[in-house]
């Protein structure tokens, strides 16, 4: 993602090879298999949601970097898109989760 390293390649479109994309595809399938296995094991729901969201974020990063070519674009495009998106999602989490945790603690045990 370095601005200088890829500046020369920034308009080179055949950046990925069939082999590279197939490897990414296999990794995505493997991560999905891990998720299904965790569901089969029936972990406790809070642990489960943490692991699942973590694995899904890795998968999303793989799709965005390789399939959506963000890895091969200029650093500027990444900086334009991703921090703003992450910031907005964090704002949503700030709105939701303190309330959700408070309600969880209010629930009679």
């Amino acid at each position: 993602m370095s601005a200088h390293g890829h500046a020369e390649l920034s308009h080179e479109h055949s950046v990925g090879t069939t082999r590279l994309f197939s490897i990414v595809w296999v990794w995505l399938l493997l991560l999905t298999a891990v998720e299904v296995f965790l569901a089969y094991e029936r972990l406790e729901v809070h642990l489960m949601i943490t692991i699942l969201v973590g694995l899904s974020l890795i998968k999303a990063a793989l799709i965005m970097s390789y399939f959506m070519h963000l890895r091969f674009e200029r650093l500027g495009l990444f900086l334009l898109l991703v921090p703003a998106m992450v910031f907005c999602i964090c704002m949503m989490l700030i709105m939701f989760f303190p309330d959700s945790i408070r309600l969880m603690n209010l629930r009679p045990h």
Binding site: T32, A39, Y40, V53, S56, F67, E73, L81, L103
Partner: protein, 210 residues
């Protein structure tokens, strides 16, 4: 400005100026749309996660067989369609029109298969009495969030299939350039990416505990 001059600006490799990201306007537009659409899905997923964690008696109706097996297969189909899409984009930039159209058709077939399998699942759930406003297991929000999330995603897949069909037809005729294929690919990968969150959050978190 003539077409050639415009191309020159898109090709520019200096930082800043008329083309700071060295991409065409279609691609930048699609990226901005994807960011805004990802926030729509984030809002739905976060509100779903909120009610899911807050509700002690959340229904967990999905058996490993057939519901989870079926949705895992749908994930496989969608991931494979992303692979054929990215190979199609590569072929388009190499100027191989026939191969590109073939890859795009493979992607479209995967998309249609996804929608059809998903539709059979909806019909099964309707048969069990699950609707957007109620279900036999209590907590009507289950149906509301399930059909809201999967329905919006299915709408995106359906629109994506139509979009890819138009691009495949136009590219095969020589009407569209490789850039059009690449931009439609961005949209298709985004639809795949969203499913990578919906599948674990909606299906795997509601596996029957017994």
């Amino acid at each position: 400005m003539s077409e050639a001059e415009f191309e020159g600006i898109v090709e520019s490799r200096w930082s800043g100026g008329a083309s700071p990201f060295a991409i065409n306007s279609k691609k930048l537009g699609m990226w901005l749309f994807i960011v805004s659409d990802s926030l729509t899905f984030s809002a739905l997923l976060i509100s779903y996660a909120y009610v899911r964690l807050e509700t002690p008696n959340w229904p967990r109706p999905f058996e490993i067989w057939p519901a989870i097996a079926k949705s895992s297969f749908m994930t496989f189909v969608l991931l494979s369609s992303s692979l054929t899409m990215v190979l199609g984009v590569n072929a388009a930039f190499k100027g191989d029109r026939k191969k590109t159209v073939r890859y795009l058709i493979a992607t479209i077939i995967c998309g249609i298969a996804f929608v059809l399998i998903h539709a059979t699942e909806w019909v099964t759930l309707f048969g069990e009495g699950v609707t957007p406003w109620g279900n036999p297991w209590g907590t009507p929000l289950f149906g509301g969030t399930f059909f809201g999330l999967t329905g919006l995603h299915m709408l995106h897949v359906t629109i994506g299939v139509a979009y890819l069909a138009i691009i495949a037809w136009g590219f095969g005729k020589g009407k569209y350039t490789a850039e059009h294929v690449e931009v439609s690919g961005l949209y298709w990968h985004f639809v795949d990416l969203v499913w990578m969150f919906i599948f674990p959050m909606v299906y795997l978190l509601s596996v029957n505990p017994k």
